[in-house]
């Protein structure tokens, strides 16, 4: 028990060592005048900017707008990805019909979609939702297909011997077995969604965390830029850790320990 705790503490120390070292080096570089504060403000300045942004509620306002956009787009992307992915995995015909489309559309980078979507949907909320939808759709789609297709044929054989109907096969064998992979797709999808919202907001928006960063740069407020970037990273890690914890809880059978 004691050694286990010791190991846990060592693990935590090791994982924070690099960020802490960087912050110390950074403070030193700025303090000694090696780097101009217009390019890289001191960690202390950024922390106090972050604090004032938090206190005034501005940060939370922009953040919550971005988070809502992500949730809306991600919900569509996750739903679309799992549904279309399942159809493609279960039906060869659907796979043939959509397969070519997928291989043409998938390599298009997110940033290339933004001007097209603005043309189609304007600069309002819809174009942002669409960007996030596309960004989160692909990883969910591909991981769903992969998960279903890699169902253990030996388990399928067992179900065949037991004369199970196709619907039972799908709900009781294919989908549970694909769940860990689908979940991985969801995790990749939401981090991609978070990346996309910031990108979209930097190009065309009047609110949101991406907009806040972009605007601060135009006003030459580097501390705000860094505070915003830090927040993006922080929320990103929270989302991923949250989903990982959920996955471990729901899919404990797939973890060997």
């Amino acid at each position: 028990m004691n050694t286990k705790n010791m190991k846990k503490i060592t693990d935590i120390l090791l994982s924070v060592a690099a960020p802490v070292a960087i912050v110390i080096l950074w403070a030193f570089a700025v303090g000694s005048g090696l780097v101009r504060t217009a390019i890289l403000p001191a960690p202390k300045t950024i922390a106090s900017t972050l604090w004032s942004l938090l206190e005034s509620g501005k940060l939370w306002r922009d953040m919550s707008i971005s988070i809502l956009r992500v949730l809306r787009g991600f919900a569509c992307g996750a739903l679309g990805g799992t549904l279309i992915g399942s159809c493609m995995a279960f039906s060869k015909t659907v796979n043939r019909i959509l397969g070519t489309m997928v291989s043409i559309l998938r390599p298009i980078p997110m940033l290339a979609w933004i001007p097209i979507l603005i043309l189609w949907l304007g600069i309002g909320e819809n174009s942002k939702t669409a960007v996030i939808f596309i960004g989160s759709f692909w990883p969910v789609l591909l991981n769903t297909i992969h998960g279903i297709q890699s169902t253990d044929p030996k388990l399928l054989e067992v179900a065949r011997i037991l004369e199970k109907k196709r619907s039972v096969l799908i709900w009781k064998v294919y989908l549970p077995s694909a769940l860990p992979s689908i979940f991985t797709g969801l995790r990749l999808g939401i981090s991609s969604a978070w990346t996309c919202v910031v990108g979209a907001e930097m190009i065309a928006a009047t609110s949101g965390i991406g907009y806040m960063i972009h605007y601060a740069r135009e006003l030459a407020q580097p501390a705000r830029v860094y505070a915003g970037v830090f927040c993006i990273g922080f929320v990103g890690i929270l989302i991923d850790k949250g989903l990982l914890a959920l996955q471990k809880r729901l899919l404990s059978w797939s973890y060997t320990e």
């Binding site: 030996k154 065949r160 011997i161 004369e163 769940l179 899919l251 059978w253 797939s254």
Partner: protein, 262 residues
């Protein structure tokens, strides 16, 4: 005298596989009649097609020539009249012991009856108290017990066992053989066991079918009439054992001097 009833008929069955441009003959001209309630073992060296034979009996793979009939009906696809246990337990890792066994039930039964059926089979294989465990929490032997319970819960007429204890350690294997013997005496099912473990075959079977190596052909059918439970070190037991051993060794490699093994 009790009337003998033929349950499973294998008639002139051959199996060929196409590999690249050629064909490989795996089984040749197998004919066999298995009585209701009989315990029969099929032994042979690896690659002699004994597992292929089981796959054909259960209807996963059709024979190239010949016919397999269960109770007079030709086997064309898997049916729940025939249960199967594989070398690996093949449990669904996301289901508990109870749920895995419940998955075995395909016949329509009421909820209460279902619970009873599952509970009965959990107890039958000695897993009481492990109902809620996941497969990953069980040992190999326990997993195989669940797999046997899952195959039995449908009340199949015939139980096929494809090297079910091959992956278990020696002690667990002997334990499981005793368990299967008890199950067979209790459930009175026809059992067909494929194995390369000669001791296992002699310990359990009424009749042992010895297959030659590829293409698999029946070399001999050996009746074992020793009373059960059989003493593994008795003279009779060892005599049958070495007879089968001789068959397999001479067949496996002509150049091996078998006397050095006996």
């Amino acid at each position: 005298m009790e009337q003998k009833q033929i349950q499973l008929t294998i008639q002139n069955v051959s199996k060929k596989f196409r590999i690249d441009k050629g064909t490989i003959s795996v089984l040749e001209n197998i004919s066999l009649e298995i009585e209701k309630g009989e315990f029969i073992s099929i032994v042979g060296t690896s690659g002699c097609g004994k597992s292929t034979l089981l796959k054909m009996i259960i209807g996963l793979d059709p024979p190239t020539e010949g016919q397999i009939r269960i109770d007079g009906r030709e086997v064309v696809k898997p049916t729940i009249d025939c249960g199967m246990v594989f070398q690996e337990a093949r449990l669904f890792p996301w289901l508990t012991v109870r749920e895995n066994i419940e998955f075995g039930i395909t016949r329509p039964v009421s909820g209460g009856e279902k619970d009873q059926l599952v509970q009965k089979h959990i107890e039958l294989v000695g897993l009481k108290g492990f109902e809620k465990a996941l497969p990953k929490q069980l040992s190999g032997g326990m997993q195989q017990r669940v797999s046997i319970a899952r195959a039995l819960v449908n009340h199949p007429d015939i139980l096929l066992l494809d090297e079910p204890f091959g992956a278990l350690d020696a002690l667990t294997r002997i334990n499981m053989q005793n368990e299967v013997l008890k199950l067979w005496e209790h459930e009175k099912k026809t059992m067909v066991l494929v194995t390369h473990d000669i001791d296992e075959a002699v310990f359990l079977s009424d009749r042992i079918i010895v297959l030659s190596s590829r293409p698999g052909q029946i070399m001999d059918r050996i009746e074992v009439t020793l009373p059960r439970p059989r003493e593994r070190s008795s003279d009779e037991f060892l005599k049958i054992r070495s007879k089968i051993f001789k068959y397999l060794m001479t067949n496996a490699d002509e150049s091996v001097n078998i006397d050095q093994y006996l």
